[in-house]
Symmetry: C2
Subunit: 520 residues, 2 copies
C-alpha cells in the first residue's frame, strides 16, 4: 500500500468550506414526521413456528421459572397466585396471556414539546440515538477515549438536530468525568434543555428514577397530576440473561408504571453465550424473560404502556465477542417481530454493529440491523444513530452517517414513491418526449422535480473528479465536518426561563443532598 | 481534524500478516451453492397498481411504439403483423402477451464446469461481478486510472475465487490498454482460463458475439450441436432509453437466441433524465422497452431463455448525476419485481452505488440495492461485487467487501437459522443452564457451534483494543490485503491442455484477421 492512505486529509477552506455550508443547510433535512411502515413484515416462521416459540417461552415460565431478585416483585407474583420458591417465580401461561392481553398495542408519549409526541405501535417505526457507550471516538481525537459531559452534550445536540431521531434514549455516551452519584442530574439537565424530545430514565436505583421523573415533570411545567395523566417518558431495562431480573431494573419499572410512564423490556440474549446457540432457542428465552416482567407490570397497572424489546444476536464462536447485524441477528429480529404481533405488543429493536470505526463494515452491519427493524415491523429502533464497537463507543460521525440511512428509510416509507395514478404512469410525458428527447426540461418534470427524490446530506453523488477537487473526503470525514457544523450552529429549543431555573434549582438541591447512591 | 487521519496506515508484517493468512483461508468462505430466496417479496403495488403499470407499458407499445434501428428486427416485426413505420414499431398487447407467455419462467445455464451450472428463476438469487467500468481504483494506486488487462484479470480471479459469485458478467474493468478490435479476444481468453463460471458476451457487433460464442464452445470441448443444445452463456443488452433499441445489441441477442443462448434485456431508465421523474412512469417505460425486445426474441425462437432486467434509478435533480441505492431505486426494483412475476419472467437487478471510494456511503448504497434485490425477488444480481462511482470505477477492495455482504445474504437464506424443532427451541438446554450458568460449554452448544453462525472474512469483530494492536485497519484496508492475498495464492481452474491450446490458436487466428470492427 502506498503512503497515500485513504481517506485523504481534508483541505481547509476554499471549495470544501463552501460545500460544508451547503451540505448542512436546513433544506437538506427531512421534516419531523412519524413514519408508517407499510411493508408487509418478513416472516420466516410459519404458524407452527410461532406456536413452537410461544410454547417454548411458556414452558420456560411454567417449568423453569424466572429469578426475580426484587423482593417487591416476588411479593406481587405471590399475590397474583404464581408459584414462588425463594427468588424463583413460575407462572402459568393462562395468567401470563391474561396479563399481556391488558397491554395496549399502541400508545403515545408526550414530551415537553407536544409537537414531538411519539406513537409507539400501530405501524410506526421511530428512531432513537445511541445509548450508554462508556467510550467516545471521533476523527479529531482519533482514538477511543472515556466519555465526558461535553461529548455527551454534543451527541444530545445531534439528537435534537436531526428530525429523523424521534426520541432521546439513555446517555448517548457515559460522561465518566461526572461522578456517578450526580451524573443523572447533569445529563438529564442537559437533555431537558438541549432537546425537547421524549426522554428516558435509567432504572438504576430509586433516587435516579424519581429524580428523572421529577425533572421531566418540571421540564413540561406540569403538575404531578398532569405528569402522571399520560406517558411523558420511558425507561428501558435489560434482564440478566439467562432467566433473571435484577433488583433496580424491576424497581425502576414499577416506579414508572405506577406513575403512568412507559417501560421497554429488552433481554440481552446473545446466542451461544447467555442464550442457546440456536436462534429460535435464544428468541424463546428472550420472549420468556420479557413477558415475565411485562406480565408483572400489567398485574400492577393493567394497561400500562409496555414495549417488548429484542437484543438477540450471536457471538463469534472463536472469540466469544458479540456480533451485530449478522444474518442470525436479522432473522432473530424478524422472528421476534412475529412474536410481538402474536402478543399484541409494540416492539423495540436496534441499529447496531460490531465495527470499531465509522467505515464500510460499520455501515453494512448497521444497514443490516436497520433493514431488519423495517422487515420485523419494529416500532422503536434504539441505538439507531451513533453506535460503534458493539455499543462500547459512541461516534458523532457514525451518528451523522446513520441519520442519512435513517432518512432514506423514512423516505422509502413515503407512499407517493410508488403511486400509480395516470400522472405517475406519465404516458403523456413519455409520448411528448418520444425516442429522441429527454425528460429534464418538460413540464411533467418541472412540476415535480423538487420533491421527486431523496436529497442526501452526507452522501456525495458527484463524479470522482468533482469529488476529488472538493477535497476527496471519505464518508466519515464529510460526516465529521457536518457534525462540527451542526454543533457550531446549534440552537437550543426554547424553554421558559422559570422552568429552566426550577430545573437548575432541583439539580443544585439534589447535588447538595449527595445525589444517588453508587452501590448499584 | 487532527493529522491522525483515518484509516491509519497498515503496519507491515507481524500480527497483521498472520491475521491476513487466517482471514483468507478457505475455511472462511462459504461453499458454492445456488441460494433460494424464501422471503415473501416486498410488494408496494396492489393489484390495481400492477395493472396500471402494465396498462402504461402496453399503451406505450401500442400507441407510441419503440424505435428499432436494427433492420432485421423491423422485418421480423412486420412478419409478425406489428405496425411498422420506418424504425417505429407498434405492437398490440395481445401479441406481446402471447409472445411473452412463451418465455420460460426458469432455465439453466451450463458453463464448461458443469458443477457451476446456474439456474435463473424459480426463487434463486444469484450474484455476478461488476461489469464494464472504464476505470479502476485501488488503495495501492490511490487514484482513479484507466483500466488495463492485468487489473481486469485480477478482478476475474476474484470472480472465480468467491463461491458467492455465481456468474462472470461483462469485463470487470475495460482493459483500455488492449485495442478495441481484439479486446474481446484477450479478455474472453482470460475469462475462459481464469474462471469456470457462466460467462457473457457483449452485443457489440456480430464478430464479437460470434467470437465469444465460439470461444465458449471451445472452452467446453463441445461440438456445435452440444453448444446450441442448451444455454452455455448469455448476453446482456441495454435499450437506448427512451424508447429505442440500437442495431448491434438487438443483433447480438438474435445471434444468441438463435443458437440457444440466454439474453438479458435491461433498459437504463434514470427517472428525471431518460425516463419520467415519477418512479412508476420510469418503470412503465422500462417494462415497455424490455418486453418489446423479449417479444421479438420469443417470436424468433419460442421458449428462448430471456431475463427482464431493471436499471431504474433516479438522478440528482441539482446536478443530473445518477444516484444509486436510493429509496426511489429500491421501490422501483420492488415494483419491477412485481411486474416480472406478473409476466412470468426471471428478473435481473444490480448491486450499485454512487460513491467514489469503498467507504461508508458505498456500503449503505450497495446494501440498499442488494436488499432491494432480495426484497424484489430478483434472480440475477448484476454488478454485485466491485462497483463504484455509478459504474465508472471497478475496485478490488469494494469487490471483497461486497462479497462479505453477499455471503451474509446467502447465509440469511439458509432455513436452518429459523428452524423451530424441539432441539432448536432448546428447552432442555435452557433448563440445564438455569439462571446462573452460561451456554458456552454445554453439549447443545458443542454439537452446533461450528456451523451455528455466519463466519466473516473481512469484518473485524474484535474489540477496539485488539483491532488497534493488529494495525487498526479500516475495512477497505483489510479488503485490500485480502485482495492481494487471493491474487497471490490464486489457482486457475483446471483446463485440458488441448482446449487451452485451441483457445490460444483461435485468438491468434482472429487477431491475425484483424479482430472486430471498431465502428460501434
Amino acid at each position: 500500500m502506498s503512503d497515500v492512505a485513504p481517506p485523504k486529509r481534508r483541505r481547509s477552506g476554499g471549495r470544501a468550506a463552501n460545500t460544508a455550508k451547503r451540505l448542512t443547510s436546513d433544506i437538506n433535512q427531512m421534516p419531523w414526521r412519524l413514519p408508517i411502515n407499510t411493508d408487509r413484515p418478513t416472516e420466516p416462521l410459519d404458524g407452527d413456528g410461532v406456536q413452537a416459540i410461544h410454547d417454548g417461552a411458556m414452558r420456560i415460565l411454567e417449568e423453569i421459572g424466572i429469578e426475580f431478585l426484587n423482593e417487591e416483585a416476588v411479593e406481587l407474583f405471590k399475590q397474583a397466585g404464581c408459584t414462588v420458591d425463594g427468588t424463583n417465580v413460575k407462572m402459568g401461561r393462562d395468567w401470563v396471556m391474561e396479563m399481556i392481553a391488558k397491554a395496549p398495542e399502541q400508545f403515545d408519549i408526550t414530551p415537553r414539546n407536544p409537537d414531538k409526541k411519539i406513537t409507539l405501535g400501530g405501524g410506526h417505526i421511530l428512531f432513537g440515538n445511541v445509548s450508554s457507550p462508556p467510550n467516545y471516538f471521533d476523527l479529531e481525537i482519533g482514538k477511543k477515549v472515556s466519555g465526558n459531559r461535553k461529548q455527551c452534550a454534543d451527541l444530545l445536540r445531534l439528537t435534537q438536530h436531526f428530525n429523523c431521531i424521534h426520541f432521546a434514549g439513555g446517555y448517548p455516551v457515559e460522561p465518566v468525568d461526572v461522578h456517578a452519584s450526580v451524573r443523572h442530574l447533569d445529563v438529564v439537565f442537559d437533555k431537558m434543555t438541549l432537546t425537547d424530545k421524549v426522554g428516558h430514565a435509567y432504572s438504576l436505583g430509586k433516587e435516579r428514577v424519581e429524580d428523572v421523573m421529577e425533572m421531566v415533570r418540571i421540564s413540561g411545567g406540569w403538575t404531578d397530576e398532569e405528569f402522571v395523566s399520560k406517558p411523558r417518558m420511558y425507561t428501558n431495562i435489560n434482564s440478566t440473561s439467562p432467566l433473571k431480573h435484577d433488583v433496580p431494573m424491576i424497581d425502576g419499572c414499577l416506579r414508572c408504571v405506577r406513575r403512568g410512564q412507559a417501560v421497554v423490556v429488552t433481554p440481552f440474549t446473545l446466542a451461544g453465550a447467555m442464550a442457546p446457540v440456536t436462534m429460535s432457542g435464544a428468541v424463546s428465552l428472550s420472549i420468556a424473560e420479557a413477558l415475565s416482567a411485562i406480565a408483572l407490570f400489567q398485574y400492577v397497572r393493567p394497561g400500562a404502556p409496555c414495549v417488548i424489546g429484542t437484543f438477540t444476536s450471536n457471538v463469534d464462536m472463536k472469540s466469544g465477542a458479540p456480533a451485530f447485524g449478522t444474518p442470525e441477528y436479522m432473522r432473530a429480529t424478524q422472528m421476534t417481530g412475529q412474536m410481538a404481533r402474536f402478543y399484541g405488543l409494540p416492539m423495540r429493536s436496534s441499529g447496531v454493529c460490531a465495527a470499531n470505526v465509522p467505515d464500510g463494515q460499520a455501515m453494512w452491519e448497521t444497514s443490516n440491523s436497520l433493514w431488519a427493524a423495517v422487515q420485523s415491523g419494529t416500532n422503536m429502533v434504539y441505538h439507531a444513530a451513533g453506535w460503534l464497537e458493539g455499543g462500547l463507543i459512541a461516534s458523532p460521525e457514525k451518528f451523522v452517517m446513520d441519520c442519512e440511512v435513517i432518512q432514506m428509510i423514512q423516505r422509502y416509507m413515503e407512499p407517493q414513491i410508488t403511486a400509480t395514478t395516470p400522472a405517475d404512469i406519465a404516458f403523456d410525458a413519455i409520448k411528448e418526449v418520444g425516442s429522441a428527447g429527454h425528460f429534464f426540461g418538460i413540464q411533467h418534470t418541472q412540476d415535480r422535480y423538487e420533491k421527486a427524490f431523496y436529497e442526501p446530506f452526507v452522501s456525495d453523488w458527484r463524479n470522482f473528479e468533482a469529488w476529488e477537487i472538493a477535497g476527496g473526503e471519505w464518508t466519515a470525514q464529510r460526516a465529521h465536518r457536518i457534525f462540527k457544523d451542526i454543533i457550531a450552529n446549534f440552537q437550543e429549543p426554547p424553554m421558559d426561563a422559570a422552568i429552566r431555573s426550577e430545573l437548575e434549582d432541583f439539580v443544585a438541591r439534589r447535588k447538595s443532598e449527595g445525589g444517588a447512591p453508587t452501590d448499584f
